[in-house]
Symmetry: C2
Subunit: 456 residues, 2 copies
């Protein structure tokens, strides 16, 4: 039997493991599921005869090397910062490697060794990064092959709650790491290019510069800019494109309300607050408002942020109970972001029957035979339940499919890479369709930035 070693059995590994176990008889696979917690590994193996859950501490060098040496291919689902130990062993023992993480500079530096040994190190093959690369490159390459010239590319992805589980005013629940949601947008300025003009959005304006998008059968969404769209020019071969913009999808109205937290300073993760443990939620928000001996916290918030009496934002704030004077934060030396996360987790955690949803949306503008054209393409995936979530499916299935294709010699080009070549994305996108992960594409009139031809 051929041994596939999966290191890291977190939430995103469920669909990955299921795919491989389902194919294990036919493909003659033993799926070794290694995690620091044997329980995590056992849960995913579900007593399948071809599944072998093991406890593995990746910092236990001997055990790690032993497992990698004995495997035929390795999948690392560890947090990105832990990939390197695994990657070096894979080079040493001549094993192919698959990850869903961004290629780090450190990993990139292994490229020559990987090529010398004829190995395939496939990365960024989850959802985002992953399906975004593949689905975008498929259309971009097709346009280029037809002789078209790309002039615009916009791409948005979001992890949301499924419509049937969407029952709060924010139309949002935490379907992934809540911390990333709370600190989103803080790593640096959002930069992109529109019609040849470089644009920069500072954090304090990020949640007020959203744009609307509409997806058939799912209604309206909003997109807000990601940090660095410009690096995709090189990755996608779009060096002289006029417009390149990548972003995150939320339901309409989320960002405008979230902006309240940003403006008040409640998402700051850079300092700890005095006496955070014994603070009430009301004390927490009041810390960001001017002192006054009798004015209410509510009126101070309305005044500070100019919130009208009938603004729906207000109901969103009430819904997350931010003005509660009884509930205590209960976190020692916590940052504002940690406190806000705790408050939101009480309201935005999925209920046992809730399902998540992944939405991806691309817009391609191009010129062909002197004419401007536009293609819109989107993907919506709903989770089955809280194990086989939309996130687990969209992250794990491309990893699983790629792994089997590498093992079966269908993907062979060696090197540290991401899935932007036809050899890789075509068969994977094709097979993903069998799992309900597919794109709806339509050609629309080229709209650009002045769709109604307005003049001054």
């Amino acid at each position: 039997m051929r041994k596939i070693l999966i290191i890291g059995a977190g939430r995103s590994a469920s669909s990955l493991v299921k795919y491989l176990l389902d194919k294990s008889d036919k493909e003659n696979l033993e799926v070794i599921i290694a995690d620091i917690s044997i329980e995590n590994a056992q849960k995913l193996a579900r007593n399948h005869p071809n599944g072998k859950p093991i406890a593995l501490d990746i910092f236990h060098e001997k055990a790690r090397k032993e497992e990698i040496k004995n495997s035929d291919i390795v999948i690392s689902m560890l947090p990105a910062r832990f990939h390197m130990e695994v990657a070096k062993d894979c080079v040493e023992f001549g094993k192919n490697l698959v990850t869903a993480s961004y290629i780090s500079d450190e990993l990139k530096a292994l490229d020559k060794d990987v090529k010398d040994k004829g190995l395939v190190f496939m990365n960024e093959i989850g959802l985002d990064p992953g399906i975004d690369h593949m689905s975008a490159m498929q259309v971009i390459d097709r346009i280029k092959d037809q002789g078209g010239k790309m002039i615009m590319f916009e791409s948005f992805t979001g992890g949301l709650v499924a419509p049937e589980s969407d029952n709060n005013l924010w139309n949002y629940k935490f379907t992934w790491n809540p911390r990333n949601v709370v600190v989103a947008g803080q790593g640096g300025v959002a930069k992109f290019i529109q019609e040849g003009k470089y644009k920069y959005i500072p954090y304090n304006k990020l949640f007020r510069r959203t744009e609307f998008l509409r997806i058939k059968d799912y209604g309206r969404f909003e997109g807000l800019a990601n940090r660095d769209s410009l690096k995709y020019r090189e990755i996608y071969g779009l060096e002289d494109i006029q417009t390149l913009y990548r972003g995150t999808i939320r339901r309409v109205g989320y960002s405008r309300a979230w902006n309240i937290f940003v403006q008040l300073g409640m998402t700051d993760d850079s300092y700890t607050m005095e006496g955070s443990e014994d603070m009430s939620y009301r004390d927490f928000i009041n810390s960001f408002l001017p002192y006054n001996p009798h004015d209410s916290v509510e009126l101070k918030v309305r005044h500070c942020l100019k919130i009208d009496q009938d603004d729906i934002i207000w109901d969103k704030l009430l819904e997350v109970d931010i003005f509660n004077a009884e509930k205590k934060v209960g976190l020692k030396n916590a940052t504002p972001a940690q406190i806000l996360q705790k408050i939101l987790e009480e309201k935005w955690t999925l209920s046992p029957d809730d399902k998540d949803m992944i939405v991806m949306y691309h817009k391609f503008g191009y010129e062909i035979n002197g004419k401007k054209k536009q293609i819109e393409s989107n993907m919506v995936v709903i989770g089955d339940d809280q194990v086989y979530t939309a996130m687990a499916k969209t992250v794990g299935l491309p990893v699983a499919i790629a792994t089997l294709k590498i093992l079966n010699g269908k993907i062979t080009t060696p090197g540290v890479q991401l899935p932007i070549s036809k050899e890789v994305y075509n068969p994977i996108l094709k097979e993903l369709e069998d799992y309900g992960i597919n794109f709806t594409e339509k050609e629309v009139e080229y709209l650009g930035y002045n769709p109604h031809n307005l003049s001054a």
Copy 2:
């Protein structure tokens, strides 16, 4: 003759050197002015027979040690990060040291060695830090000596343009390092305590949370919070004070207009802009605004920041020429902050006849015999010209006075210290009066935070 070694002959050393040279005959002093540029040193020495300008590179260890060894006392006017080399030599050769900089952790670590050798290392004895410490502690100690209990301390300092030279709409010119003005407030959240409540102001609200102050004969000013007011509790012995707030002074309206730059992202110093060199001022501001094929940059700014047609802010923006489409930035790989600084320097640089002004304002609230009382105290210093500026006088004279008093054995308590003991601040504040640096103090009704006794 007794040798005073001054290392660093920048703009802030002029009044310091003059003071010492003026006293040099009577006090039997040789004033050695050492700078990496001999011209700088010569300019300050003005051919005075007791002045000795020398060229000194502080990283030339042998020369540095030689000069320090041959001196009787050392003043370091170097940028704070260069003090340590000098300080270590002073310990080695048993020389007293005076600086106007904050005590670094590294310098503090020398305290035991300094005390063992019976040396005085006096720091934070310029303007801010310096005169602020001394003038505050004089009042605080007096209140405590009378049996009073401090309940509130607010303190503001600003470097401004003198009223006779104040001829722009911002009522502001660069009188010191422009870079510090452009990035002001970005080092971390502003935190303070008001009536026992901890308050935090994020950067994006900092310039909208100003408070007004009035100084007799000089009119109204505004104060905005400094980064960390809380550390002064320990320094000033105000551990259980209810209100402690330190800030920066500007003329009324400055902060509200500056906030435009903050909101747009033009003060960001964390990334460089694409094509900054060939950008016009208009391109620069447009980089922070949404793309539109025909709307003007002006209207986009007004809309983005909700600036009414008749708002005076607008004239301030026009005055600094920020919409100019002809003028080029001319700086390669520049950050937004560097570009903004360049644009403002064109308008806010002092003319040859302009004078600067230093304003300091303290508010002390205390309880004595069951009654609440309040003292307000302020200092205004106008520069003589562009050599003997208000900044040079208020930074340099306390350094000079302290140096002579240490040399003459009037200040003797050893250790790495700042001027918060009566032995130090009383004689120095007294002598500063001879140079027009004095505080006007008045007792007012205790106003606290509800001066008009308003109720709900």
